[in-house]
C-alpha cells in the first residue's frame, strides 16, 4: 500500500499552519514528523485522518481496502484520549473495538499494555500515563493499516514506551504505515523524517 501527499497546505483561523507538504510512504514505512510547537504536526495528522480539510493539495492511498477512505483505515491517537470516565477500562476498549470493527481480543490488547489488572476499574481513576496506554490499546485491539500517532510517548513510563515501540515495530513488519509526530526520538529508526515549520 502507498500513502501519498501532494503539496498539502493547512489554514486554521486564517493563519497558514503549513504549506507545500509532500510525502510518499510505502507499506512498512514509519515517518517521523518533527518541528517546534505550532509548526502544524498535529494539524498534519488530523488532515491525514480526515478530521481537518486541507486548504489545498491532495492525499491518496493506493492498495488499501476497496471503497474505504483513508480515515476508515487509520488509527488516530491524539492528545485527547477518547475515554469515558464512567465506563470501566475494559468497557472503554470493548466499545472502540466493536465500533471500529474487526476487533481482536480486548483482553489481549489490555494485556499488551499491562492494563489487564485494571480492567474493571472506572477510567476516571486512571493516571495520565494509564489513560494514554488505554487510548493506545486501540492500536492493538483493532487492526488498521495506517497509524497516526500524536506524541505517543508522552506521559508513558519507560516500560510502556518499550511496549509501544515493540508494537510499532510489529506493525511495521506486517507492512503497516505509521506517521508519528514527536519532539524526541521514537525508539525505532524512521524511514523518513518530515520537518515542519521554519527551516
Amino acid at each position: 500500500m502507498r500513502l501519498t501527499a501532494h503539496d498539502l497546505a493547512c489554514v486554521r483561523g486564517g493563519r497558514k499552519v503549513f504549506a507545500g507538504v509532500s510525502f510518499d510512504l510505502a507499506g512498512g514505512d514509519v515517518m517521523l514528523v518533527t518541528g517546534p510547537n505550532g509548526a502544524g504536526k498535529s494539524s498534519l495528522l488530523r488532515v491525514v485522518a480526515g478530521l481537518l480539510r486541507p486548504a489545498s493539495g491532495r492525499l491518496s492511498l493506493e492498495g488499501g481496502a476497496k471503497e474505504a477512505s483513508i480515515a476508515e483505515q487509520s488509527h488516530y491517537v491524539g492528545h485527547q484520549d477518547a475515554l469515558k470516565t464512567t465506563l470501566s477500562v475494559a468497557e472503554n476498549l470493548a466499545f472502540w473495538t466493536a465500533f471500529l470493527g474487526r476487533g481482536d481480543d480486548v483482553m489481549a490488547a489490555l494485556t499488551a499494555f499491562d492494563l489487564a489488572p485494571l480492567a474493571h476499574l472506572p477510567a476516571a481513576y486512571l493516571s495520565a500515563g494509564q489513560r494514554k496506554r488505554l487510548s493506545l490499546a486501540r492500536l492493538a485491539a483493532v487492526k488498521r493499516p495506517i497509524w497516526l500517532l500524536d506524541e505517543p510517548l508522552s506521559a508513558l513510563d519507560h516500560a510502556s514506551q518499550g511496549r509501544l515501540v515493540e508494537l510499532m515495530r510489529h506493525h511495521r513488519d506486517r507492512g503497516g504505515l505509521a506517521i508519528v509526530a514527536s519532539h524526541g526520538p521514537i525508539g525505532l529508526a524512521p524511514a523518513l523524517e518530515l520537518r515542519l515549520g521554519p527551516t
Binding site: L51, R53, G78, T86, A98, F99, L100, G101
Partner: protein
C-alpha cells in the same frame, strides 16, 4: 450494524451511570409540571383544560435538557474524532446517539406522564391519546434537537444557544401534539388528522435530523 448497537449501548450505559443524563429529564419533567398548580392555583377545571399543554411543554424542556451534551461531551474528550473515523456512516453514528438519548430521556417521560396527568385532573379518557402523541412526538423533539446540538458542539456554553436554535423549530410538534390531546379530551373528531400530522413530522425529523446534524458536525469541526 455491530458498531451501531455498540454505540447505542455505550451511550445508554453512560447515561445511567453517575453524572449521566438519564432520569434527570424525567425528574425535571416532574418538577416543571408539579410547579404549575402552585402558579395557577387549585382550580381543577382550569388545570384539566391546560393539562395537555403543560405536559407537552414539560416534555419539550425535559428533552432539551441533556441534549447539549450529546456531541459536546464526545467532542471534549476526543471521542468524536474517533467516531468520525469509523466505518459506520456519520449519519448512522448520529442516529445511534439520538436513539440512545431518546431511550434514556424521552421514554421515561412516557412512564411519568400518566401520573402527572392525574395530578392535573386530566380526563382519564384523554390519557391514552396523550401518551400516544407523546410517544410519537418526543422522538421528533430529540431529532430536531440533534441539529442544534451539532451546531453548538464546539461552544463551551452551548446549552443556551441550543435552546434558542431548537425551540422555534419544535413549535409544530407542540401545536399538533397539544391539539391531539385536546381533540381527544373534548371528544371531538380532530384526533386522527392531528395525530397523523404529528407522525409525519416525527418521520421527517427522523430522516432529516441525522443528515443535517452530520453536515453541521463535518462543517463545524474545521
Amino acid at each position: 450494524m455491530n458498531a451501531f448497537v455498540a454505540l447505542l449501548i455505550r451511550d445508554m450505559r453512560i447515561a445511567v451511570r453517575a453524572g449521566g443524563g438519564a432520569l434527570i429529564g424525567a425528574i425535571f419533567f416532574l418538577i416543571v409540571v408539579v410547579t404549575v398548580p402552585f402558579a395557577v392555583g387549585p382550580d381543577l377545571k382550569l388545570l384539566g383544560r391546560i393539562g395537555p399543554a403543560v405536559l407537552w411543554l414539560g416534555a419539550l424542556l425535559a428533552s432539551l435538557l441533556a441534549l447539549d451534551r450529546l456531541f459536546a461531551a464526545d467532542h471534549e474528550d476526543g471521542s468524536l474524532d474517533v467516531l468520525m473515523m469509523g466505518e459506520l456512516p456519520l449519519e448512522l453514528t448520529i442516529l445511534a446517539k439520538a436513539a440512545a438519548h431518546w431511550l434514556t430521556t424521552g421514554l421515561p417521560l412516557l412512564f411519568v406522564a400518566p401520573l402527572l396527568g392525574l395530578m392535573l385532573d386530566m380526563d382519564p379518557a384523554a390519557m391514552g391519546p396523550l401518551l400516544a402523541a407523546l410517544a410519537v412526538g418526543t422522538p421528533a423533539l430529540t431529532f430536531i434537537g440533534l441539529v442544534g446540538a451539532a451546531l453548538s458542539v464546539a461552544l463551551r456554553r452551548g446549552g443556551l444557544l441550543l435552546a434558542v436554535i431548537v425551540l422555534p423549530l419544535t413549535i409544530p410538534i407542540l401545536v399538533f401534539g397539544v391539539s391531539t390531546s385536546e381533540a381527544a379530551s373534548a371528544g371531538r373528531t380532530g384526533f386522527g388528522p392531528a395525530f397523523t400530522i404529528l407522525c409525519a413530522l416525527s418521520m421527517a425529523s427522523l430522516v432529516l435530523g441525522p443528515f443535517a446534524a452530520a453536515a453541521a458536525l463535518r462543517h463545524g469541526l474545521e
